[in-house]
Subunit: 282 residues, 2 copies
Amino acid sequence: MIIDGKEMARKEYEKLKEEIASLSKKPNLTAVLVWNNPSSLRYIAQKKKWAQEIGIDFQLIQFEETVKQEEIIAILTKLNNDEKVNGIIVQLPLPCHIDTNAVINNISPIKDVDGFTAVNMWKVVLGDESGLAPCTPSWVIHICKSIWVDLEWKNVTIIGRSNIVGKPLINMCINAWATVTCCNSKTKNLKNHTKNADIIVLATGKPWLLTKEMIQKEAVIIDVGFTVIDGKIYGDACFQEILENGNPITPVPWGVGALTVVYLMKNTLKAFYLQNKVVWII
Amino acid sequence: MIIDGKEMARKEYEKLKEEIASLSKKPNLTAVLVWNNPSSLRYIAQKKKWAQEIGIDFQLIQFEETVKQEEIIAILTKLNNDEKVNGIIVQLPLPCHIDTNAVINNISPIKDVDGFTAVNMWKVVLGDESGLAPCTPSWVIHICKSIWVDLEWKNVTIIGRSNIVGKPLINMCINAWATVTCCNSKTKNLKNHTKNADIIVLATGKPWLLTKEMIQKEAVIIDVGFTVIDGKIYGDACFQEILENGNPITPVPWGVGALTVVYLMKNTLKAFYLQNKVVWII
């Protein structure tokens, strides 16, 4: 069974659009772009498109690649204090002369809709849902819950340990009472850690890493991998054979990656509510 | 084999004592105590004893149990700005009318020698060693490294998911390239997750949870559990049978618990160096 991420995302966008239409003013999402590489431009265009589609004001602030770190921080301080701005993102990666973590931590945690600041990561670890959690892990949890209702009692194996996907996801699964295993490229005998898993999340960028021999019949496969070879996009799983094996699996593309923008929009609305002191369960 | 935590701690205290003796001024550790329960008083006495033993100035600030949160925060602000103070701890638990997380996050991260603030937890997740990491997980990693040299390629199973031990430890093991599994009270068939582990860390407070049938011959057992029954102290492992099985195991008491104070002292010295802008690898 193919897990229909597109349909899940469509439903969420509809709910958001309806909710935003009922507000007395539009939430605002402001993106800061420093490096005009094609991927960053594509991501920004996608975020702009969806924001506008559902009724969020989108503002883009662009810098030359030679910009000094202090200039970015000065703009962030201004945006933090601007009550018309509800969500702030800094499009990554930044050029090498910029200290990414230092820049990110200058975003006010209640406007940090990417969920990358220290306070928001700390809240993710503690399971404090008053914060803004990172988008891709939030979307993965959303998919899991759509299928299993609940992660309690489940064995979840996560392959990959990036700061943006693997690590926050592990902490979120732990807080949801799952039994979680985190594997990496140095894991001995990966199959030992996948064969009893109820849910396997792949986030390595290594195509064909997971085969049908490594999984149990009912396992749900969520593939966050994304690799381009000769113009074709691959995830980390052997998609076709796992699909034929009968396992629920997310396709690549259009399973996880592009759809995490839903959570950027959800976070922007949550940030709007936090700033307007409305209690809201996302 | 009993893992001799006491001897490991003794060596560390000696190194610290020697290093502190070579400094031009003594580092200072200040403890804030609000609730005079017997456990808190005992912990404070232990910290004071070791600080003085190795040459760290120890200062205690005591409040009545009815103190207002703002008064504690006001003192923390004063201590943050006092350059004679290098390390600050707030003895937990705090009385119910106080928001513990709000208080803790008013400690300056470079004086937060318990490693409980948002910035330090974020650095633990990211694997950024410039921060101050929590003491018990640091001591567990210290024991592991003393035995295995390195956690790479190793399977580590952690049972327990507290904010002070389990969660930071999981993140630290992930950053050390271990394959880590985190179990909790809702884990199905715990043995499935312990039988192939190279290292098992117990932090549940459930005596006799781990038996020799659940582990492989070479597994190292680190027991952070601590339960008092009829005046006798128990860890989470069936100590005697696991010891007779030939596995290296930490005793309870005197394996992990009390000895984590070593890392409080190491952190105080690291904080002293951070504030004096000396680069130091702990």
